[in-house]
Each structure stands twice: as C-alpha cells, then as structure tokens.
Amino acid sequence: MRVTVRFFARLRDLAGTGELVRDVAGPATVQTVWTSLVSEMPSLGEYEKAMSVAVNAEYARMAAPLREGDEVAFLPPVSGG
C-alpha cells in the first residue's frame, strides 16, 4: 500500500524533504514505515526515542496500523509559543 510521509523541523532537514511517498507491504504500522526510513536515512534514527507521530493529522502510537492512502507524520519535540 502507498502512504504519504511528512517530516517537520529538524527531521525535515535531516530527511532533505518535508514529504515523500512510500510503498509498504501490508499489514504495516507506523513502526514499519519508520524502520524502513531509518534504514534508508540512518541520521533519522536519533529521534527514535524523542519524537511524536501522527496518522492523518491525529496523534498516534508507533504500533498504529496503517491503511492505503494514510498520511504519517514524524514530529520532533515541539517548541511553539
């Protein structure tokens, strides 16, 4: 299935893009996509223990299952205000 991946702030810099599309074999979770991205771009790995994730613009967990067309976002620690 095909999912859209979004990166923000420093994760976007590390990935070199704010958005990309990936085909993953189902059944997949957020973790599946993340693991695949880290093997592709090892520098992302430093955020494994210090990030939030969202699916379709709702906060989610790494174990959340994904469906065709989902948007998965990887979010570094926030610094608004």
């Binding site: 923000f8 702030a9 990030m51 570094p76 620690p77 608004g80 205000g81």
Partner: protein
C-alpha cells in the same frame, strides 16, 4: 468572524481575539453570550526576544503541522473549559518569519472572576509548549538551530498535571 483558535502567517491581533472571546462563538451560557457574565479578561502574548542562551537572536522562523496544531489547540480549549468551567479561551499562533519584538502567540481568557481567567490563560500557554506541533528555528548571529522542547503526548497525564499546577500556583 475571528476564530477562537487559529494558526497562520498574518500578524496577530490581540484586540480582535479579545472581542471574539468576549462575544463567544461557543458561549458557555446565555449570560456569556451577551458578555454580561464576564468580570475578567487575562491575556498573554509571547514575543520574539533578541537573545537566547547567550546568543544574539536575529529573527525566528516558525513552522507548524497546521491541521494537527489546530486540533491540539482545540483540545487545550476543551481542557481549560473542563478545569475552569466559567472560563473561555482563545489562542492564535503565528507561523513564518518573525522579527524581534513581534508576537508569536496570543492567548485571551475570559471569566467571571480574575482567578479563573489568569489560571486558564497560564494553563493554555503551558499546554501549547507541551502538545502543539509547532517548531521555532532560531536564526542567531553565527548560525541557526531548531529549538526542541517537549515530546508531544496529549495523553501524558503527568504533563497535564504539571501544567495545571503551574496554572494554579
């Protein structure tokens, strides 16, 4: 009509947000809808400062995951309403490049009494810093750096309690 929650690149307007909160698009009760039940307004504005951690700041650049930022801010409005039922809040966050002295966030809390207005306002800014997916890149003399604070987790009850304690201190 000015929304109670907004994220965008336009300069922030505290007077417009205050009017929106007072006239209430989602009034807590009939008295609030007419503005007659409010005895207090507390407001907060976060400004771009010219120094940070010993660095001379040139300007800040804010980035948001807008749809989730709006949802997180709406969640904060609901949390504040649950904690201080007489209080109503509005909050606007700015994105893009902000110069020194400009406001990056404004929060307005209205309530029957000052205590709840101050508390709800303080709670809102503490929660923004915990769970709203917005980031600032600091451009200082000699370089730039993404600032990183809390790992956002709206279900973290300890973080929520911490914000509540600070608000009531």
């Amino acid at each position: 009509m000015v929304p109670l929650v907004a994220v965008g690149s336009a300069p922030l307007d505290l007077a417009a947000l205050t009017t929106a909160v007072l006239t209430g698009s989602v009034p807590a009760d009939a008295a609030a809808a007419q503005g007659t039940g409010d005895g207090a307004i507390a407001s907060f504005a976060g400004l771009v400062r010219d120094h940070n951690l010993g660095r001379r700041v040139r300007f800040l650049e804010y980035e948001a995951y807008e749809p989730l930022a709006i949802r997180a801010m709406e969640r904060i409005v609901e949390e504040a309403r649950a904690a201080w039922p007489s209080a109503r809040i509005g909050l606007h966050h700015r994105t893009g490049r902000l110069e020194i002295g400009e406001a990056s966030i404004i929060i307005v809390a209205a309530s029957a009494h000052r205590g709840d207005a101050f508390a709800a306002c303080r709670y809102a800014i503490e929660r923004v810093k915990q769970i709203v997916p917005i980031w600032k890149r600091e451009h200082f003399e000699g370089g730039d750096v993404w600032l990183e604070g809390a790992v956002a987790d709206p279900d973290d009850t300890a973080a929520r309690q911490k914000a509540y304690k600070i608000a009531c201190a």
